[in-house]
């Protein structure tokens, strides 16, 4: 059986070229040699659509887009007889904050010599490589918005109140309105935690201290917690007990697992993230576009991909609650 028995022997990593231009020297082993085939290493395809679904997408042409909010005072009408003085609603200016977009670029170039000699068609893959690079950039940036949403290692952006996406003791722009929180206590995924989150959503106060009842529409968790959440949603009795009590959380909330969540976090959405009430936004100044780069040397051929964009958040109140999860 010796012919059919192989023993593992790990290959060593290969160093890449030290150059910023692709030349025939990089490919000397492949050009006009005995290799029958050149196989691209697998990198998989990146799909950021699930993450993008948690953001509202907006256009922004300016590098810095300055916004100001309008606030309303306490807005309940009182008893007021006809003919007496009518009290009027108050209003005023709120906070000023800015949305930023940044240019991102990456390019690729090769020599004409390589193009003439390379007989595997790899040069034609450069456009795909650039597109893949940008897909990964967007994907990592969107994931980062949630993985650092608690601010434990800073965050890629702050909300309009100067706080992280999920935070406690959040200020309100109207004097006298109490601070508020969309940060749940660190917990397991259990009946009590979900009930408390739902209760906290119901008890949300608006920017002026008025009641603003909200309810959980969907839950997003890392893949690792799928089993815990599935058990909680599927079990008729309270999980982990002799089950005299019914399970409040059974089948109550829809949830999705998000492979890109690498932090132990749970996100509750309170509405449609594509609606105007979602403060969390992707700001597009220029969507990804590819253009040729014209070098002084006509025999160096290159292209670049460019996008101008950023992430920003106004008031996260109407859309996001959440917090850290205990490690499994």
């Amino acid at each position: 059986m010796a012919l059919f028995t192989s023993t593992a022997s790990a290959q060593s990593a290969v160093a890449h070229s030290g150059s910023d231009i692709r030349t025939q020297a990089d490919w000397s082993q492949y050009i006009n040699t005995y290799y029958d085939d050149l196989v691209d290493e697998l990198a998989g395809e990146i799909d950021a659509s699930q993450l993008a679904g948690l953001f509202r997408e907006e256009s922004q042409s300016e590098d810095v887009h300055v916004r100001k909010t309008k606030v309303r005072g306490h807005s309940v009408a009182g008893i007021n007889e006809d003919g007496s003085a009518i009290p009027f609603l108050s209003w005023g200016q709120g906070w000023e904050h800015s949305h930023y977009v940044y240019p991102y670029r990456i390019g690729v170039k090769h020599t004409r010599h390589l193009e003439e000699l390379e007989n595997y068609g790899e040069i034609s893959q450069e456009g795909m490589e650039l597109k893949d690079s940008v897909s990964r950039t967007v994907y990592y940036a969107l994931a980062d918005a949630f993985n650092r949403c608690l601010g434990t290692a800073g965050a890629p952006f702050l909300c309009y109140d100067g706080m992280y996406l999920l935070d406690s003791a959040r200020p309100n722009p109207v004097v006298g309105a109490p601070t508020w929180s969309n940060l749940e206590s660190t917990s397991d995924i259990d009946e009590d935690a979900l009930f408390q989150a739902q209760l906290n959503a119901q008890n949300t106060l608006a920017h002026n201290g008025d009641r603003m009842p909200l309810s959980i529409k969907k839950i997003y968790i890392p893949d690792d917690y799928d089993k815990e959440m599935w058990t909680l949603r599927s079990t008729a009795g309270t999980v982990g007990t002799a089950m005299n009590d019914a399970n409040w959380a059974r089948g109550r909330f829809e949830y999705e697992t998000v492979a890109e969540f690498t932090s132990n976090i749970i996100i509750y959405t309170l509405g449609d993230p594509k609606s105007d009430s979602n403060g969390l936004q992707i700001k597009w100044a220029v969507r990804p576009e590819v253009k040729d780069v014209n070098f002084e040397d006509p025999d160096v051929i290159g292209k670049r991909i460019r996008l101008r964009w950023g992430l920003a958040c106004d008031d996260p109140r109407a859309m996001f609650r959440g917090g850290a999860l205990n490690s499994l």
């Binding site: 030290g18 150059s19 910023d20 231009i21 030349t23 020297a25 690498t262």
Partner: protein, 180 residues
């Protein structure tokens, strides 16, 4: 304290690389190098850049002002004279590599405060090279950017040595190299 001199990746040109040319090298048997290694023009031939003393530290003793510097695109295991493809490193050429350290408790961090700081190069016996954060004597490179700016979403698993220590990257330029 320990040394963190693992070239988890060799430094490479990421932008502003000079012309790619084929240059003659000496057939001296001592002249062997890998693709990606630093080489310079010396007496009309391409020559390895090595430390005059210990073969690890590249500073102004080894890379005099006005050096004509290249990165090798091809390996050379020389027995006879020949030509080799090299790419010129100009004063505007930006390279990227891991920050090394000879005396730290972990691979050195790369805060923005080191942008503009000059360091010498550590070149291991493998021939690969990268800035040495502990060596600011007779420096040859200047840090122009740190990974927090150009690799904001680096995987926590990448660029680790065999002990699982993660290295951090910088971008840098060579000082005093010839553009002529």
């Amino acid at each position: 304290m320990a040394t963190y001199y693992t070239h988890v990746q060799n430094s490479r040109i990421v932008s502003g690389g000079g012309p790619v040319t084929r240059q003659r090298y000496s057939g001296d048997n001592a002249q062997t190098w890998k693709a990606g290694q630093l080489v310079k023009l010396s007496s009309g031939v391409i020559t390895e850049v090595v430390d005059n003393a210990s073969a690890v530290e590249i500073d102004t003793d080894d890379l005099a002002d006005g050096s004509v510097l290249f990165i090798a695109n091809e390996a050379v295991a020389a027995a006879t004279d020949g030509k080799v493809e090299v790419q010129r490193i100009l004063s505007s050429t930006i390279l990227e590599g891991p920050m090394l350290s000879g005396n730290d408790t972990a691979p050195p961090t790369v805060p923005e405060s080191i942008i503009g700081v000059d360091y010498a190069i550590y070149q291991g016996t493998s021939g690969y090279f990268a800035p040495d954060k502990n060596d600011e004597v007779n420096p040859v490179i200047t840090i122009v950017d740190v990974e927090g700016n150009f690799k904001p979403w680096k995987s926590a698993d990448m660029n680790k040595d065999s002990s699982g220590e993660q290295y951090h990257f910088v971008r840098f330029k060579f000082d005093g190299v010839s553009d002529v």
